[in-house]
Symmetry: C2
Subunit: 147 residues, 2 copies
């Protein structure tokens, strides 16, 4: 089933972002690349926030956040309560992020994860439904942080 | 050098939390276990928020956040702007989290990472200084999220 998939990165992950975008478009998804377009230096929080706000505004959409390690952009994305972004480097975590946490984004590090592993993570993420049940109340708490 | 280290988890990671706490106390650190104390079911966001707020209140402290996969509690912890929590499962990421992101917490999954790997991640995290420089402005942006 075609999905709306937003991608965002920093300069360190522009190539991985382009490769994943091409692949996902080839799979028939509606891919929306939030940038950057070049490898000029940018700040990962800017793109993490952009992605998270796009996801907060569209409950049906999925996001992929990329930077050198995946760490910085995942921290930024999770600053926005409507985004639940799981930093992953293998498909077991990508599936658990959907099943237990109803994550709407995964983050990966372009300097740590190769293209085939990144694709395997995205496939597991897209294929796995949220389990609901006892997990639903916990996810609800993630949407209502303190302060 | 002895450090103040807060630990928090959910029920799935109580054993790993206790093992890490014992080890870190043995290493001379000031370990503060924020719970839970038993394996009775709890919600990971409650403990993620508790840890993040402790770190937001003490710039010198370090945190370790644990749940089944590490995903849920890392998302929760990063809801609090004073917390920069990196989900890791190997020491390269744990070191990069300090060097590039000035992370003050790491999250790990008790069902995915064994005790020796968790210790290696904590050791890398505690041993690595923040690089500053071009990274400082990005970390500053993590402290000032939109909205």
């Amino acid at each position: 089933m075609p999905r709306i998939i937003y991608l965002a990165s920093d300069h360190a992950a522009v190539e991985l972002k382009a490769a994943l975008a091409d692949w996902l478009r080839g799979e028939g998804h509606d891919v929306r690349d939030l940038g950057p377009e070049t490898a000029d230096r940018v700040d990962y929080p800017d793109y993490g926030y952009k992605l998270a706000e796009a996801l907060a505004a569209d409950a049906q959409a999925t996001g992929i956040a990329l930077c050198g390690s995946g760490i910085g952009i995942s921290i930024a994305a999770n600053r926005v309560a409507g985004c639940r972004c799981a930093l992953v480097n293998e498909p077991v975590s990508a599936a658990l992020a959907r099943e237990h946490n109803d994550a709407n984004a995964i983050a990966m590090g372009a300097r740590l994860v190769g293209l085939d592993m990144a694709k395997a993570c995205v496939e597991a993420f897209l294929a796995t439904p949220f389990a609901g049940g006892r997990h639903a109340g916990r996810v609800e708490k993630l949407t209502n942080p303190p302060g």
